[in-house]
């Protein structure tokens, strides 16, 4: 890890000695039921370079999503430190609630979309805006004019995002008044990504952004991820199982096994690693 720090001196996220355990029920050697402490994250060290696309790969149950949940504040780590270097001042993330972590600039896209299905495409986007103006009951009842002005600005912002990401004639603007739950799975995935552009995030965590979508949508997802880096300067940290996608977009890659990072480097290096080939790629 110290060698890697020489290579990258601008780190946006630094994770040191993080442990997370669960108690699980097992049958012991004597054939009796017993509780066993199981470490899903086991003394893990990791860093994410600023302004790059970093990928995290590993088998099912390796602890990748749990690690994302710890970074997002949805799960508490047992021990260790997770430090987010927003600008100059480092911020310790452990113990912060998820909404505060989002407000300081860490966005999240989930493996299972987590869009709002009974709300319109429009409302899905507007709810993701970085500005929370108008969301207090007082403003909603008494300051309707200034709230309406802010809403108009949000809608403009949303239209620009859709146009920028998906072109002038995009299905999202046309379907803005449709319920998000009525979109296809691939479109919901793209909506989840587009939603991140409404916030002011310096780092986004993408959990398997190309899982379960067709090749055409994969290309659109990759286009959006590249735009995050190029146009917004956002750092991307993603979990990915598609090796083609990994080689296509990622600058760096970490391999996770049994709660630890066991290989780090360029995607080519990691895919070429003997342990990765044997235990993950099955080669």
């Amino acid at each position: 890890m110290s060698k890697a720090r020489f290579i990258m001196d601008d780190i946006i996220l630094q994770i040191d000695s993080v442990k997370k355990s669960f108690v699980r029920n097992i049958i012991n050697k004597r054939g009796e039921e017993a509780d066993e402490r199981f470490f899903i994250i086991d003394d893990l060290d990791l860093f994410v370079p600023r302004g790059k696309i970093s990928a995290l790969i590993g088998g099912n149950g390796a602890g990748k999503t749990t690690l994302f949940n710890i970074i997002s504040g949805l799960v508490d780590a047992d021990t260790g430190s997770v430090v987010y270097q927003k600008e100059k001042d480092p911020v310790s993330l452990l113990g912060l609630p998820p909404f505060k972590i989002a407000r300081i600039g860490i966005g999240r896209m989930f493996q299972d979309n987590h869009i709002f299905p009974t709300m319109t495409v429009l409302d899905n986007m507007l709810l993701a805006d970085a500005s929370r103006f108008g969301e207090t009951p007082f403003v909603s009842i008494f300051k309707t004019k200034s709230a309406a002005k802010k809403e108009a600005e949000r809608i403009d912002k949303m239209k620009n995002i859709f146009t920028d990401l998906f072109g002038e004639k995009n299905p999202f603007w046309e379907k803005r008044n449709d319920l998000a739950g009525s979109l296809s799975y691939g479109q919901q995935r793209l909506l989840g990504l587009a939603r991140l552009f409404m916030g002011n995030y310096d780092l986004v965590l993408l959990d398997e952004p190309t899982a379960g979508v067709n090749p055409q949508i994969i290309q659109q997802v990759l286009l959006v991820i590249r735009k995050m880096i190029k146009e917004k300067g956002t750092t991307v940290f993603l979990i990915e199982h598609n090796m083609k996608v990994l080689l296509d977009v990622a600058d760096f890659c970490s391999f996770m096994s049994h709660g630890k990072i066991t290989a780090f480097g360029t995607p080519e290096d990691v895919i070429g690693n003997d342990e990765v080939r044997k235990t993950y790629l099955g080669m």
Partner: protein, 290 residues
């Protein structure tokens, strides 16, 4: 004619109860069984404001709203940290506690004897609101005001966050919104307006006792919201009209009062089961409760 006016006044009271409850149940997916407790707290605070403090109407309404809001705030923080079924149980516990306090704190509430002779409130300290027509106007104004305010809340960025919580609380958190703060707002606003229903009821009937605010009443309010439908304003309004008019219709069909009361409960029960299966969004709602 007086009978019809009475029905309309009761509908107005129930519209306030159901529209307020909808902010929790239909907009935020918080199933509360404690709404009748706030209804009762509002009614008893109204008695205190009018009979002890001798407040005119508007200060009495403000005191009732502030009182119910404050009590709801005190219980909101611990209960709203609970999720799903645990929140329902916590509100059920609160409902039972408030009923027990109202029933047994005889020195203050007169317990099961109730409080008779609640005076008609005075508008601006001069014009007394008494009689059916003034109460019709008073209850109508208050229910329309409630509808207007909740319509604004639902169709605002505030309402949008509540809908977000209803759909996916984790997504709301990951977008930088403090879900607990929004749920507390919804709980407090809902309770404050239910307090208004309490003051109208107490002064209109001029007698209150704890049995008007027991668990049956809490379930009744919830049933009205679910039958009418949630997620918009129209549903709870239709629900209020339905539950107030239904027993009156049964009376017209010729059922004796004693049977009609029990039949009413059975019909509500079957209606709820039927709606859950065949029309989960209720008569006029737009959201299907999960």
């Amino acid at each position: 004619m007086n009978y019809i006016l009475h029905i309309i006044i009761m509908i107005n009271i129930y519209i306030i109860l159901t529209v307020s409850t909808n902010l929790l149940v239909g907009m935020t997916n918080l199933l509360s069984l404690g709404q009748a407790a706030f209804y009762g707290i509002g009614a008893y605070l109204a008695v205190w404001a009018l009979m002890v403090l001798h407040f005119p109407l508007i200060p009495a309404i403000l005191l009732v709203m502030a009182g119910t809001a404050l009590i709801s705030l005190l219980i909101a923080y611990p209960t709203l940290r609970l999720r799903g079924d645990y929140f329902v149980l916590a509100t059920l516990g609160f409902q039972l506690i408030i009923f027990t306090v109202l029933y047994n704190w005889v020195s203050v509430t007169r317990g099961p004897y109730g409080i008779p002779g609640i005076p008609s409130p005075e508008l601006l300290g001069i014009v007394p609101i008494s009689g059916l027509i003034p109460y019709l106007i008073f209850s109508l104004v208050m229910s329309l005001l409630t509808i207007l305010i909740f319509y604004k809340l639902i169709h605002s960025p505030f309402g949008r966050v509540l809908k977000g919580i209803r759909d996916d609380e984790i997504a709301v958190l990951s977008l930088g919104r403090n879900d607990t703060a929004f749920k507390i707002w919804a709980f407090v606003i809902s309770s404050a307006f239910i307090g208004i229903a309490g003051i109208i009821y107490a002064t209109y009937v001029s007698y209150i006792d704890p049995t008007s605010f027991n668990l049956d009443e809490a379930i009744f309010i919830l049933a009205a919201v679910l039958i009418g439908g949630t997620g918009n304003i129209r549903g709870p309004v239709v629900g209020a009209i339905f539950v107030v008019i239904l027993p009156e219709l049964l009376r017209f069909v010729g059922f004796p009062d004693a049977i009609a009361a029990n039949l009413r409960q059975i019909i509500y029960g079957f209606s709820l089961i039927g709606f859950m299966f065949y029309r989960p969004q209720g008569l006029a709602g737009e959201y299907e409760l999960k």
